[in-house]
């Protein structure tokens, strides 16, 4: 571990690049797995896909737990992606900060709504 304190302290570089890079992939894989599981149940379903069957997919407790994790994963995944877009295209610190703030509120609000829906099931 390199020295990163006192006069040797790095004052630039966020250092969360690798962590976010890994998180982006892990959360992406989790959502991919979720997609495959949902799609498999839709494809393997016999007869017309009505409300009962569709809602039934999400009603099982393990599926609720998985869906909950996917919502949280999506929240983080989208945050990393949006932050990347802002860092690349928005040069002004104030505008960028404003957009990042908006993204956080937007994502947390969306995640809250989705979890609320899930909890009612």
């Amino acid at each position: 571990m390199s020295v990163n304190y006192g006069s040797k302290r790095l004052v630039v570089g966020a250092h969360y690049g690798l962590r976010d890079w890994i998180a982006q992939r892990v959360t992406g894989l989790l959502m991919a797995l979720f997609t495959v599981i949902v799609l498999a149940q839709v494809v393997l379903n016999k007869g017309p896909m009505g409300y009962e069957k569709w809602a039934g997919i999400f009603a099982a407790q393990w599926m609720k737990a998985l869906t909950f994790s996917v919502i949280v994963a999506l929240l983080y995944h989208a945050w990393v992606g949006m932050r990347e877009i802002f860092m690349d295209y928005i040069p002004g610190a104030y505008v960028r900060l404003l957009l990042q703030t908006f993204s956080i509120v937007w994502l947390v609000a969306c995640a809250g709504w989705a979890i609320q829906v899930l909890w009612r099931l």
Binding site: R25, A32, Y51, A55, F58, M82, I85, L121
Partner: protein
Amino acid sequence: MSEISPPPRAKRPEFRNINPFNDMPGYRWPLAAIVSGMHRFSGLLMFLLMPFIIWMFDTSVSSEISFARFTSAFRNGLGFFPGPLVKLVALGLIWAFLHHFIAGLRHIYMDIFHTVSKEAGRISAQWTLALSLGLTVVLGAKLFGLY
């Protein structure tokens, strides 16, 4: 210090303070760059349309009545949005999801197998586009009731 100076080189164009309107149209867009740009764009699109996605999740799973509201949005429209427009937005989301999904798997594949050559990037970009656009056409035809 010796007085060796590097041989004079041809002056290469320098790009500082890139102007999007004057400089960017001259950029080359190889297939891998198109896939990368579309990966970003599809992610942004899904981010912006997230409330609609959750609305679909909400209405489709909450109750029998809301499920009917969900299906009628595609037939009879939603608020002042006509049904075909709702379908078109859904088609856009289907494309965005498929592209983002496949391009994301492509990234993970490249990370694991270290396929960083130009040629491999071009071939996997071709696969990504063919699969995502092909599946979008198949699912879009289903969405618009062509089969």
